[in-house]
Symmetry: C2
């Protein structure tokens, strides 16, 4: 296994609402099959929105009621002030601020929002994990 991820697929209940949310966040759907799937190019990987029931069926597992997924995505910012701005934008886009911007136990500044499907995104400024010009994050050397 090479150290990479190709696609993060989020299973959704309401596809149109989720597409509208991520579009309002500033992302651009690169491929949309109506009532089926939407792909967003996220640098070197793709974010896919696909009905949760289809994802479960495709994998051959039983769907269950949405609860805490046990997974969180993180978007690291270039400044502390961006954290609160992104949380507010998520709320305006139809998401929910789960944890307002605050000092993190690891020293940075952070918060969480949930998208329209309840998926967690951590928004964090962590000076210890540098971002390059393209936004690619690295562990400290």
């Amino acid at each position: 296994m090479e150290p990479r991820v190709s696609i993060i697929t989020i299973g959704v209940i309401d596809l149109d609402r989720a597409i509208a949310f991520y579009t309002a966040m500033g992302l651009e759907p690169g491929m949309v099959v109506p009532d089926d799937v939407a792909f967003f190019q996220m640098g070197g990987l793709l974010l896919a929105l696909w009905p949760r029931a289809k994802l479960a069926e495709d994998a051959g597992i039983q769907d269950s009621k949405p609860g805490f997924s046990g997974v969180a995505l993180a978007y690291n910012t270039r400044s502390e002030s961006e954290v609160g701005e992104m949380l507010e934008r998520a709320e305006q886009a139809g998401g929910r601020i789960v944890k307002p911007a605050q000092r993190a136990f690891w020293g940075g500044w952070y918060g969480y929002f949930a998208d329209t499907e309840g998926n967690l995104w951590e928004i964090a400024h962590n000076p210890g994990f540098p971002l390059d010009a393209e936004g690619r994050i690295s562990l400290p050397a």
Copy 2:
């Protein structure tokens, strides 16, 4: 929001078992805090393994019993034969083959495995979504 993801955090019940699984898959932990967290550099983003209860507490939400997370990660291969090889490797590493390698409805070759925590990984060969030399995937032009 720039089109990128910084960290995919998988909440785990058994951290050491999960670290052993991903290491056996060929990944190298770049930073490990024993009994707390492990980070793997995955190209321009990080995969983090963190106890599920800590993730829920950090976000300020209620933990729930692990079920179908509603999220799947995908790893796209450079050939069809790699798909079955990776599923077998996942099984040898302590995971479970959820869907054996087979023809996909979208034309490629694919299958699913679950890691030691039940998280779904789709392994897929999709000639329509090209990979560059670094393994970065792109939507068709």
